[in-house]
Symmetry: C2
Subunit: 511 residues, 2 copies
């Protein structure tokens, strides 16, 4: 017997009509995991990695290339020699224990609160691309107009709970001014909690100041509306620029994401377990430092990890070693009881083609099966991060809905009622007209829009469109329906004036 589409029975008319009347999908709120994650290593093996990380911090030490941080570590009792801090395991563990296991992030729009915790799942689109692949497939350097367009797509896509800040680089704006314009579109075109830039004290302070114009200082003293990326410089270095940003964000009660930057076999050993031991040492030192700056700082334990092609030197996506690394990092983060971040939808393809799909879905499933809590780059990432693909952003927005449904597992609430249907239908029957089906099919199985399930002939008659073409149509529809979220005009004026004033104050030429 052949397992193919030809065996599908046709659905009843009433069922089809009801399906068409399905409502618009609401934005994902807090997604709570029910699926129990994979375990890549045993409890003993996990302990061995944890101990190896502590030993690295103690014996090899870690560089904090920042005088303030070194002074703080000294005060805390660390053995500091030059820029190198040798951190005792007890000190690290006692600081890490101060990081909260969950916290809220709050946007200015209705129903935009999301809880980031050790058992939740939050999706955030890619950041940092110097190029975009536009809706028509054109690849070019990205501009502020592109960033605005991306923010509008994120605002209109229910699969993103949070903003990503610099989804692409606005290369048409002088580097010293970029953070102002990035922050402006994030606060104006989006109503979600979002990312603020952390590259040095002045920029971080500008971002906090702009967010305070919109949210108010008192509100932000109590609520996190921004998260900042604190990237490590592997192996075993934290640079001043990032540590400055960390301090500004932590002291303003905003979220810091501590992320060693792993290029497996290039800046870590050519071994998965040892790579984890090193990145965990780096992450623990960063998390501990955030708590040293301010106990209770809302911290996400992170990493960005790829393996590196020994042919071209380029980072590789969707690789099994990185999936395994994710599984172990998830086990470690649960041991430390801190929410953790990984990368989903990571792809290396130069086109939004099958490779891009394979790599992205592998990264998604690796992350969700490892119970990652903060999925960065879960939208648009292609070409190893060198492009933000707008069609892919919209496709990934839909994938996020599928992943959220998977993470949330199954419900037993309808089992007894459904078993009555089994009795009613019996051997050889079918369920299409059964009352249980009519009542529950809408919520039972998710129905994507961009993924296409037509038969070949239907699909061909409707134009034979590939996935990027369908995504483009979807994106154009979202942009056409986009309306800026309401913002008090005085706040908007103050934001605009802030950007104008800081542009006057900051030289547009790089120092």
């Amino acid at each position: 017997m052949v397992e193919s589409a030809s065996k599908t029975k046709r659905l009843g008319r009433a069922t089809r009509r009801a399906a068409r009347e399905a409502e618009v999908t609401p934005r994902l709120s807090t997604v709570r995991y029910r699926v129990k994650p994979v375990e890549v290593v045993s409890a003993d093996e996990l302990d061995r990695i944890h101990c190896a990380s502590l030993k690295i911090l103690q014996e090899v030490g870690i560089d904090f290339r920042d005088e303030v941080a070194l002074a703080q570590w000294k005060v805390a009792g660390a053995d500091v020699r030059g820029q190198r801090a040798h951190l005792d395991g007890d000190l690290v563990e006692s600081l890490v224990a101060m990081a909260p296991e969950r916290f809220a992030m709050t946007g200015r729009g209705a129903d935009t609160d999301v809880e980031i915790g050790v058992d939740t799942l939050t999706f955030c689109a890619m950041q940092g691309a110097p190029n975009i692949r536009d809706l028509d497939g054109t690849r070019r350097a990205s501009t502020i107009a592109d960033l605005r367009k991306i923010n509008r797509l994120i605002q209109m896509s229910p699969g993103f709970q949070i903003g990503t800040g610099f989804a692409c680089e606005p290369t048409d704006i002088a580097v010293p001014w970029r953070h102002l314009h990035i922050m402006h579109t994030n606060l104006v075109d989006l109503d979600l909690a979002t990312n603020g830039l952390t590259t040095g004290t002045a920029r971080a302070e500008d971002c906090i100041a702009m967010a305070r114009i919109v949210y108010g200082r008192a509100f932000m003293d109590e609520n996190a509306v921004l998260w900042g990326m604190i990237s490590g410089n592997s192996p075993l270095v934290w640079d001043a620029t990032m540590l400055e940003g960390l301090r500004v964000f932590a002291l303003a009660n905003q979220v810091v994401l501590i992320a060693p930057f792993v290029l497996g076999a290039a800046n870590t050993p050519a071994d998965v377990v040892a790579t984890v031991a090193q990145l965990n040492a780096e992450a623990l030192a960063g998390v501990a430092y955030a708590q040293l700056v301010k106990p209770g700082t809302k911290t996400i334990y992170g990493q960005y990890s790829v393996s590196v092609s020994m042919k071209s030197g380029a980072p590789m996506s969707g690789m099994p070693e990185i999936s395994l690394l994710n599984g172990i990092v998830g086990q470690l983060a649960r041991r430390y009881n801190i929410p953790w971040r990984t990368t989903a939808s990571q792809a290396s393809s130069k086109l939004f083609d099958a490779q891009s799909g394979y790599e992205s879905a592998t990264a998604y499933m690796a992350a969700v099966n490892a119970r990652a809590n903060f999925l960065l780059h879960a939208g648009g990432w292609d070409e190893a991060g060198m492009v933000h693909c707008l069609n892919k952003l919209v496709v990934d927005g839909e994938q996020n809905l599928l992943m959220a449904k998977y993470a949330q597992g199954v419900s037993f609430d309808l089992l007894d009622e459904a078993l009555d249907a089994v009795r009613r239908v019996g051997p050889g029957g079918h369920y299409l007209g059964d009352p249980f089906t009519l009542k529950h099919f809408r919520n039972a199985f998710i129905a994507p829009e961009i993924l296409n399930y037509e038969a070949f002939e239907q699909w061909k008659a409707a134009g034979g469109k590939d996935m990027p073409s369908r995504a483009r149509e979807k994106a154009e529809d979202l942009l056409a329906r986009y309306a800026p979220p309401a913002l008090d005009s005085s706040k908007r004026e103050e934001l605009d004036a802030f950007v104008a004033r800081r542009e006057q104050e900051i030289s547009p030429n790089l120092a």
Copy 2:
């Protein structure tokens, strides 16, 4: 700090040279899982599903539309009313317990043995497509020449451990003669254990007879060289055609794969848990029947499951509900201690595009994270099974290698040696020239060939080829290098004569 390719450090020359010298990948042998699988339901919840399945078999009953089977069930003490058998839980469980937890399958080639067990992973390409999507992208009805071509690609791809039989339908051959030609190419063009057809006694017997020509009857009495697909007719029906095939294969000591055919919300209730309860009832009845036919029959617990689009009635791939279903079925199969089968690389796209990639990788990762033991359709499946895409077959062959590496988890053997490298390199260094890297990078991170990791400019200079184009080049290279596996000329003549004789005996017109 931006997480992108621009940060990649260039590799050392010695490292690159060593990479180029990497050897040809050997065929996967037995892949043993080390990653501990996801759990979708708790132990109590699993018990509830198991009990619901037994209750369905007892109270609702299941149709065996086959007089022999009904008589056997009566003898075994089942409550048979007409074609419906009401099966007691103890009877079912005692029969299911007779199914072995592992067994070998053996091909005629060197190193083609593979163990199918509750902790192993075996990859098998798709079967049953009525069309192919040829290397140049053309979609057309498939022929016996296509099937031969596919078998040659499988033979040349190290990611397939076993043959799939009717990878596509040879539509240019009369239906009553097809099984002869399908079996002929599987025995001649491949040297792997493979699939034999099970649609009725006569065809199944022909397939066994042909395999005996190649392997010898005595050898096959002790060793499994063929597996047969026994598809259920959900809800709750086993048809005579399939049961006849089951009996022939079980009595000849070959493997039977018991697979209910689930179209969620069409032939099962619109509820994931109840769908599992029903399909588990069907599978248990099938597995139990195989043991009733012959205790100890080598049985794979299976299912083919998709949800159904309520817009078009078409099956949907890569859906979260089916990933969840896989997780639960895996938990059940481990409870019963029987190897289980699911579908990997299931896609619905009408082109080998990004959709196909997303769907395929989602299905792969769902299967492997659920610790599936037999991954059917893990190669070539697209358009909901209506086409065998030859480029996708080759891509999936590579994906199988990645999935196998993931399933096998991590090793701690090199940890101490690698931590010495961490000490050597220290903060701010790099690992590219380190002795540990040079010694171990080859095995540390897998290096795919069809997935492309070049930078945009390199890729463009090399022709800017999309994934299907690169897969086509790979496929053409494999076909050019293909040489038929050696087969004793007298056996080949006997096989040819068997086909000729049976064509004389069987009317080419359908009864």
